[in-house]
């Protein structure tokens, strides 16, 4: 029989096994590709360049906010620049927790695709 302690342990275990969503996955990979240059504009352009889909800056920030709340991403404000009307850039980087979530997601996807001939199937 499940006790309250068992239930608490299962909930903790499940929350620590969080996977990245589709767009979260793409954004985290873009952050890794860009390194120190990762802020709204470069992330948006990188995604547009790689996947060929126009993405809104709102979608990028909504995802980055969610990732930051989960602790997968950290941000810092840069210096204000004149070409941005005196506004500063917010730079993002992937945290250790974010890297762990990314690896977990990759392993899950890899194990799900083992034995599937995706190119021949479609």
């Amino acid at each position: 029989m499940l006790t309250a302690e068992h239930f608490f342990y299962i909930v903790c275990l499940m929350s620590s096994r969080d996977y990245l969503g589709e767009f979260e996955h793409i954004v985290v990979l873009a952050l890794l590709r860009l390194g120190d240059r990762a802020y709204g504009v470069t992330v948006r352009q990188e995604i547009e360049l790689r996947i060929g889909r126009e993405v809104s800056i709102g979608a990028i920030y909504a995802t980055l906010d969610r990732l930051e709340t989960k602790g997968y991403v950290k941000s810092r404000l840069g210096d204000p620049t004149p070409e941005r009307g005196g506004r500063s850039k917010r730079f993002f980087r992937v945290s250790a927790k974010g890297m762990a979530a990314l690896n977990r997601t990759h392993r899950a996807l890899q194990s799900m695709t083992v034995g599937l001939d995706l190119v021949r199937s479609y």
Partner: protein, 165 residues
């Protein structure tokens, strides 16, 4: 070629739209990013193209910010919207009546039962002003409550309440 100068300005209504739904802590980076890309596009592809791009980005950004704002606290937002509706429903008429009563204070109800035309007009104006002032005070009161309850996502709550008015 267009240079990056203060003469290149994005559509002001689009900026207003983004500003309306952007949380304060994010507005600087989002508007800055949009302006940076807008200036870049204006110099490469022309002002008309850049303006179209800015509008497209603004509308989609506002939609995403509304969606993410609602997802971040759906019960809290739904609760405040319902509370706002109830406040309008129960307090709306009463507050307007109270304001009319305050405006009527110096007047004895049986002073002059028969109105002249100008008196009747003055009375109608009084009721209209009372209605307007009451409506304004109630909106202000509900706005303050909403701002306190859902800080940073006021617009999400105010849109449905205003639609109902």
């Amino acid at each position: 070629m267009v240079t990056k100068s203060s003469s290149i300005q994005p559509p002001s209504r689009a900026v207003w739209l983004v500003n309306l739904f952007t949380p304060n802590e994010r507005s600087e980076s989002i508007l800055g990013d949009l302006l940076e890309e807008f200036c870049d596009l204006a110099s490469k592809s022309g002002m008309a193209f850049a303006r179209r791009w800015y509008w497209r980005q603004s509308v989609r950004t506002a939609a995403h910010l509304i969606g993410s704002g609602f997802r971040s606290g759906p019960w809290q937002i739904a609760g405040v919207v319902v509370a706002g509706f109830l406040l309008y429903f129960f307090c709306g008429g009463r507050l307007e009546e109270a304001v009319v009563a305050v405006l009527n204070l110096g007047r004895h109800p049986h002073d002059n039962p028969y109105y002249t035309w100008s008196q009747a007009q003055a009375r109608i104006r009084l009721i209209e002003y009372g209605d307007l002032v009451g409506h304004f005070l109630l909106s202000l009161f509900i706005g303050c409550i909403v701002a306190l309850a859902v800080k940073g996502r006021e617009m999400l709550v105010c849109c449905p309440i205003n639609k109902w008015q």
